[in-house]
C-alpha cells in the first residue's frame, strides 16, 4: 500500500464537519488545516451548508479534485457507507477518527470496515485514533492549535496505539528538545499496524529514529514486527504498557510461568536489536540520544565534572547499566595537566571521572574533551555541567559541541533544566548534542547508544 498521501497529502477532505457545532472534532481539524497548513482542505457533510466561508460539500464525490486523504469523523454506524463513497471517489488514504468499534465490543463493525477498505484498496489509520501530525504539512488531531505543544521538526517518527500518550510525549519532546519527523496515532490498528508503519518509516528519508508506544500485538504480529525490525537500519525504540502478568491464570509448566507475555515481549525485542525503554524518562532520553547519534558505540565513557559527587553518581549509574568508565593512564593525565589553566592544573583530578573543580573555566573543558576524544579507550564523553560554577559561560555549549562534531564522536551533557541556563542548554541542543535534565537521564542516553548490548 502507498502511504505517502497519508503523510504528505496535497488535498484533504474532512468528513463530518458540522455547520452548527463549532467544537465538533471535524470542525477543529478542518479549521486548523485551513488556516495553518499548506494542504488544500475540503469540508464534507450530507446536510451541506458553509463553514468559515467555505462550502460544506454534501458528498465527497462533489469535490472536483482528487482527494489524497479523507479524515473521517462521523458516527461509527455511518463509517462503512462513508468508506464506500471514498472508494468510489478514488480517495488515496483515510484516517478514521471515530471511536465505537472493537474497543467497545463492536468487532463486527470493525471487521466490516476492514473488509470494505481491503476490497476497495483504501488504506486507513484507526479507527478510534487521532490520526497524523506532520510538522508544517498536516495535522488531523482534533485538538485546538492553541492547546497543542509542538516539538521542533526533527528526526523521530513516533507511532502510538494511544492518542493521549502521543500528545503527551510531544509535550515532553518539545520540553527536552527532541525533534519530531512524523507522529501517528494508530488507535485500534484495524488495518494499518506497527509493522506497516515500521516499513514506511524505514524508507522515509526524514525519519532517523522510529519510536513506538505499544500495548500489545495480535497473534504472531510480535514475531513479524521483530523480524521486520531486524531488516531496518534505523534505531527502533519501544515503550510498552501492560507489563504485569495476567492475574491468576493457571500456568501448568515452569516455562509458561517464567516466559510470561511481557518476558517474551521484552526478550524478543532485545534479541532483534529493538531498544526497549522501561520508563517514560528512558523513552525520552533514548529518542533524544539516538536522533543525535544513530551509530552504535561500545560504551566506554569519559566523564567530565566540576563536582566529585556528580562524578561518583554518574559512575554508579554507568556501572548499573553495563557502561564502562575506563581508567586513564598516568602519561595521559600528565600530558593533559599541562594544557589546563594554572588555577586548576594542580588541583584537578584527572583520573576518570575528570574532576576539574569549581575553579575550571570553558577552556579547561575544551582541552579535556579534545584529549578524551583523541584516545582509543573512550568512545563517548559525558559532561556534567553545573552552570552555577562561575567559570562556566553560556558559550560552553557551542564550544564543546564543535569539538564533538570535529571528532564525529558522541557527547552527552547533563545540565539542570531551569530557564536561566537555557542559553547554555541550547548551545548544545541546537548543535546536535543531547542534554539531559538529570544525571541518570544522561547515562540513559549513553545506554541508548550501546543499542542493546547486554
Amino acid at each position: 500500500m502507498d502511504l505517502k498521501p497519508l503523510f504528505a497529502p496535497k488535498t484533504m477532505a474532512v468528513i463530518g464537519v458540522s455547520s452548527s457545532n463549532y467544537q465538533h472534532p471535524a470542525n477543529v481539524i478542518f479549521t486548523k488545516n485551513l488556516h495553518r497548513y499548506p494542504v488544500r482542505v475540503f469540508a464534507v457533510n450530507p446536510r451541506g451548508g458553509a463553514i468559515n466561508g467555505q462550502t460544506i460539500y454534501k458528498s465527497i464525490s462533489d469535490i472536483s479534485e482528487k482527494i489524497d486523504l479523507a479524515v473521517i469523523a462521523v458516527r461509527a454506524e455511518s463509517v462503512p457507507d462513508v468508506l464506500s463513497e471514498c472508494i468510489k471517489s478514488h480517495v488515496c488514504c483515510a484516517a478514521i477518527i471515530t471511536g465505537g468499534f472493537k474497543e467497545v465490543g463492536r468487532a463486527d463493525l470493525q471487521d466490516r470496515i476492514v473488509a470494505i477498505a481491503s476490497e476497495g484498496n483504501l488504506p486507513f489509520i484507526g479507527p478510534n485514533c487521532l490520526g497524523i501530525y506532520v510538522p508544517s504539512l498536516v495535522d488531523t488531531f482534533f485538538l485546538p492549535s492553541e492547546r497543542m505543544v509542538k516539538p521542533d521538526p526533527g528526526g523521530v517518527s513516533f507511532v502510538s496505539q494511544s492518542g493521549g500518550i502521543l500528545v503527551d510525549m510531544m509535550i515532553k519532546f518539545a520540553d527536552e528538545g527532541v525533534g519530531l519527523a512524523k507522529a501517528v496515532s494508530i488507535g485500534n490498528k484495524a488495518l494499518i499496524n506497527e509493522i506497516d508503519m515500521l516499513s514506511y518509516f524505514s524508507d522515509d528519508p526524514a525519519t532517523k529514529v522510529i519510536a513506538f508506544y505499544i500495548e500489545g500485538f495480535d497473534r504472531n504480529e510480535g514475531r513479524e514486527f521483530v523480524l521486520a525490525a531486524k531488516k531496518c537500519s534505523k534505531p527502533l525504540i519501544v515503550i510498552k504498557s501492560g507489563k504485569s502478568p495476567e492475574g491468576s491464570r493457571a500456568v501448568s509448566s515452569h516455562t509458561a510461568s517464567l516466559a510470561g507475555d511481557y518476558a517474551s515481549f521484552s526478550s524478543a525485542l532485545a534479541q532483534y536489536g529493538v531498544l526497549e525503554a522501561k520508563t517514560e524518562l528512558e523513552f525520552i532520553s533514548f529518542c533524544e540520544a539516538l536522533s543525535a547519534y544513530p551509530q552504535p558505540i561500545d560504551g566506554k565513557v569519559g566523564i567530565l565534572t566540576v563536582s566529585g559527587g556528580h562524578g561518583a553518581m554518574a559512575v554508579d549509574a554507568c556501572t548499573l547499566n553495563g557502561i564502562s568508565v575506563p581508567a586513564l593512564s598516568k602519561s595521559f593525565q600528565d600530558e593533559l595537566r599541562k594544557k589546563l589553566t594554572q588555577s586548576i592544573a594542580q588541583i584537578a583530578s584527572l583520573s576518570n571521572p575528570l574532576d576539574l573543580t569549581g575553579s575550571a573555566i570553558d577552556e579547561d573543558f575544551v582541552a579535556c574533551t579534545n584529549a578524551l576524544f583523541n584516545m582509543e579507550e573512550v568512545d563517548c564523553v559525558l559532561a556534567l555541567l553545573l552552570p552555577y560554577v562561575p567559570g562556566i559561560t553560556s558559550d560552553l555549549g557551542s564550544k564543546l559541541s564543535s569539538v564533538a562534531s570535529h571528532f564525529g564522536k558522541p557527547l552527552v551533557a547533563y545540565i539542570p533544566h531551569v530557564e536561566k541556563y537555557n542559553m547554555l542548554i541550547e548551545g548544545f541542543e541546537l548543535n546536535g548534542v543531547p542534554v539531559s535534565p538529570s544525571i541518570d537521564g544522561s547515562v540513559q542516553m549513553v545506554k541508548a547508544m550501546r543499542r542493546n548490548r547486554p
Binding site: 500485538f217 514475531r223 521483530v226 501448568s252 509458561a256 510461568s257 516466559a259 526478550s267 524478543a268
Partner: protein, 225 residues
C-alpha cells in the same frame, strides 16, 4: 507440520485427553530429534523393573508414571539412587498405590548441573525457547534466558552468558565444566523440535537437563498440549 513424523502425531493425539504427554512418550519424541535421554524402560510390573535394573546396573532412578500426577516430586513419586532389588521392590509397591498409576519408569542414574530447557508458544511471538538454571528451585531463582525460536548455535552462547549463574557452567570450585558443544547441539535440536511441533503443543519443560563434561541428558520432561 508436513515434516512431523506420524508416530509423533499419534502420540500427541493419543495424549490430548490427558492434556500432556506422559514422560516415556516425551522422551521418545526427544530421542527422535537427537536429544540424549537416559536408558529407560516403562515397567508395568516388578519383574520387568528388576530385569532392566540388572541389565543397566544399580543405582537406578524410579519415577511414577500416572495419567493424573503432573508434578511427580510433589507426591514423592521420584526416587533416585536406588541401590538394590529390595529397595526397588519397595518403591514399586508404593508407586502402585498412587492415583492413575500406569507403570514405573526405571532409568540409569545421570549426574550433572541441573538446567531447565523449555519452550512456550507465545500468542504474540510464537515459539519461544527458555534456558536457565533448573531443578526444583527454578521458579525461585528465575535465572533464565529467553529467545524467540528458531535458534542458531551463537544464540545459545548468548543465552548462557546472560545467566547470572553462568559461572556454574564453567566449572565452579573443582566441578567439571559443562560440555558447551553438547549443550549447544541439544538446545539447537530442541529448537528444531519446537519449530516442528509448535502448532500441536502449548509448552515444554525439560527440567532437569543434566549437563556434565560428557553429556547433556533429558532427565525429566513434560509436554503440555
Amino acid at each position: 507440520m508436513m515434516d512431523v513424523r506420524p508416530e509423533i502425531i499419534k502420540i500427541i493425539n493419543d495424549s490430548r485427553g490427558n492434556g500432556w504427554v506422559l514422560e516415556p512418550d516425551a522422551k521418545f519424541i526427544f530421542s527422535l530429534y537427537g536429544l540424549d535421554v537416559p536408558k529407560f524402560i516403562l515397567a508395568r510390573n516388578q519383574s520387568e523393573a528388576l530385569r532392566f535394573a540388572h541389565d543397566i546396573g544399580y543405582p537406578v532412578v524410579a519415577k511414577v508414571v500416572s495419567t493424573v500426577i503432573l508434578h511427580k516430586s510433589d507426591v514423592g513419586g521420584v526416587v533416585v539412587g536406588i541401590p538394590d532389588d529390595t529397595h526397588l521392590k519397595d518403591v514399586f509397591a508404593r508407586f502402585m498405590l498412587m492415583e492413575g498409576f500406569v507403570g514405573v519408569l526405571i532409568e540409569e542414574m545421570v549426574r550433572g548441573v541441573e538446567l531447565i530447557l523449555g519452550s512456550k508458544v507465545d500468542l504474540q511471538f510464537g515459539p519461544m525457547i527458555l534456558l536457565g538454571i533448573g531443578g526444583t528451585g527454578v521458579e525461585i531463582y528465575q535465572d533464565v534466558s529467553l529467545r524467540m525460536a528458531p535458534l542458531l548455535p551463537a544464540d545459545v552462547q548468548g543465552m548462557l552468558t546472560g545467566l547470572q549463574a553462568h559461572k556454574l557452567l564453567e566449572g565452579y570450585r573443582g566441578t567439571e565444566p559443562v560440555n558447551k558443544d553438547k549443550l549447544e547441539n541439544t538446545v539447537v535440536a530442541f529448537s528444531n523440535l519446537v519449530m516442528d511441533l509448535s502448532a500441536l503443543i502449548e509448552s515444554i519443560d525439560i527440567n532437569p537437563l543434566l549437563c556434565s563434561s560428557k553429556r547433556c541428558v533429558v532427565a525429566d520432561a513434560r509436554i503440555m498440549l
